[in-house]
């Protein structure tokens, strides 16, 4: 376990209105602290601003007010210390699997041999052996996201930001990907901030689940997941899991209803 403490303090985001339209408040002042080695899931209905919050942590969006710090250093823009996996497929289509994974390492100017060694390690860990020289268009959605995960991990970021990375995958593939991610986290204990609207996914993966309200988003509840590690899929059928799920479903339903009424 290593890494830095992520502190989100009073982060607010207002989007300017088009023309004479009034500006929209997407995110109410939000505070959240993520300790090194924690796996935190941000759970919320669509459009609640959870992705906006993650993008602000990544430095891809700027908060209207408030600040994001990593061990006291203010986040002013995107950087390799905060690796990200997106919901959309963002592998570079002109690079092979191995070249995609080496992208950040090349940017850092690591020696070739080291780049190859690191890429090889993460190709093995994400089960992409034999696909090193494939183009992204030749891969299934699940494999593309595994490669995107390997690409983010190869850069050895302080914190891993995952924006519904399995959202576009079918149910079975998604479950396999969750297990893969869990396995990696259990081995490395890298700090993870994971955005999802899937309750099962949040409980199964995270140590702590943060529930966000309907737009304008704010953190309305927070719960620690008491399930022990290592976890496997059988955990999804335990009473503890079911109880937590029932409680979270209640919280989320209320927000979805509000969002639908708005």
């Amino acid at each position: 376990m290593s890494g830095k403490t992520l502190r989100i303090a009073g982060v607010t985001r207002t989007f300017a209105g088009q023309g004479r339209a009034k500006p929209t408040l997407a995110l109410q002042p939000t505070d959240l602290t993520v300790a090194p080695g924690e796996f935190v899931a941000i759970l919320g209905p669509s459009g609640c601003g959870k992705s906006t919050l993650l993008r602000i942590v990544a430095g891809l969006d700027t908060p209207t007010a408030g600040s994001v710090t990593l061990d006291g250093m203010t986040v002013a823009g995107p950087g390799p210390d905060r690796g990200m996996v997106f919901q959309s497929y963002t592998l570079f289509p002109w690079l092979t699997v191995a070249q995609n994974i080496r992208f950040g390492l090349q940017e850092r100017g690591l020696p070739e041999a080291e780049q190859h060694a690191i890429a090889e390690k993460f190709i093995a860990r994400t089960g992409l052996k034999g696909f090193e020289n494939h183009w992204p268009r030749q891969l299934s959605g699940g494999m593309q996201q595994r490669c995107a995960l390997a690409r983010a991990l190869a850069n050895d970021p302080e914190i891993l930001l995952l924006d519904e990375p399995f959202g576009a995958l079918d149910h079975q593939t998604r479950e396999l990907m969750q297990e893969l991610l869990l396995e990696i986290w259990e081995a490395d204990r890298k700090t993870v901030l994971f955005v999802t609207h899937d309750i099962d996914e949040a409980i199964f993966l995270a140590n702590r689940v943060v529930v966000m309200s309907a737009r304008p988003g704010r953190i309305k509840a927070e719960v620690t997941v008491p399930l022990p590690h290592p976890r496997d899929w059988t955990m999804k059928t335990t009473p503890d899991f079911a109880a937590l799920k029932a409680w979270l479903m209640g919280e989320i339903r209320e927000e979805v209803r509000k969002a639908a009424a708005a």
């Binding site: 430095g59 990200m84 002109w94 690079l95 268009r137």
Partner: protein, 257 residues
């Protein structure tokens, strides 16, 4: 026939060749039957004969070579400056704001309208011919490349940022490679247009080239030679198009072209 259902490779060749055959057949019928007098339209046979004499007696191969040189030369100069400028405009919005209005204006200026001026400025030599091609191609290339580069997928740019890339890396490692296949397609298109400009340039104030030969043949009312010249241009276009497509498939195996 059902909409959008693909055609097999064999059928594609047969259908494509079929139209050529039909076209020549119609031409043959129209001329050999005497329906169109030879003064206006030479028959396919006469055209081929005229072509043969052009190549063997009048050194037409040299005309073809000089015309190809003019097209390719003017086009390469335009591409060498236009592609980098277009990429910069697409990547950096202030650069685009600076050049775009002028380029949009300039690309509507017909290249052929500059010929009299260019003769005044550059004489009737090669510089003038290359300038016509350059004017005709350059602004089109700039504007189209700028649009392509500007349409780079934002999520790929963002992914590169989170992997540690900065502005230079974004341009070099995301915008340029992602735009490359479409830029090559644009160049293929513009090269086609460049051929129309070169012929116009050669119709006025030229002493060599395919366009000049066509002009000379008009004085002699030799429709066979004129048609042969036009057909040669079409064939060269067909070949360069084919080469361009083959090159793109080789250069960009990752893209679905």
């Amino acid at each position: 026939m059902k909409p959008l259902v693909p055609v097999s490779a064999g059928a594609r060749v047969v259908l494509g060749a079929g139209f050529f055959v039909m076209f020549v057949a119609l031409w043959a019928v129209a001329t050999y039957s005497g329906w169109v007098p030879p003064l206006f339209l030479a028959s396919p046979g006469k055209t081929l004969l005229a072509g043969w004499s052009l190549l063997t007696e009048f050194g037409f191969a040299g005309d073809i070579a000089i015309t190809v040189f003019r097209v390719v030369g003017g086009f390469l100069i335009a591409a060498a400056i236009g592609v980098p400028l277009g990429l910069l405009m697409g990547a950096f919005k202030p650069v685009e704001a600076f050049f775009e209005p002028f380029v949009s204006f300039a690309r509507y200026l017909p290249a052929s309208a500059f010929i009299p001026l260019l003769i005044l400025w550059a004489g009737v030599g090669e510089a003038q011919k290359l300038s016509v091609i350059f004017i005709g191609s350059f602004f089109q290339i700039v504007i189209m490349v700028a649009v392509i580069a500007g349409a780079t997928r934002m999520d790929l740019v963002e992914a590169a940022y989170t992997l540690g890339a900065r502005s230079g890396g974004i341009v070099r490692r995301v915008i340029i490679p992602s735009s490359a296949p479409q830029v090559m397609e644009t160049l293929r298109l513009v090269l086609g247009w460049a051929w129309t400009y070169v012929i116009v340039a050669e119709l006025i104030g030229a002493t060599s080239g395919i366009g000049h030969m066509i002009m000379d043949s008009q004085r002699l009312l030799d429709t066979g030679q004129m048609i042969f010249g036009i057909v040669v241009i079409g064939l060269i276009g067909l070949v360069t198009d084919f080469l361009f497509k083959a090159l793109n498939r080789r250069l960009f195996p990752w893209a679905v072209l």
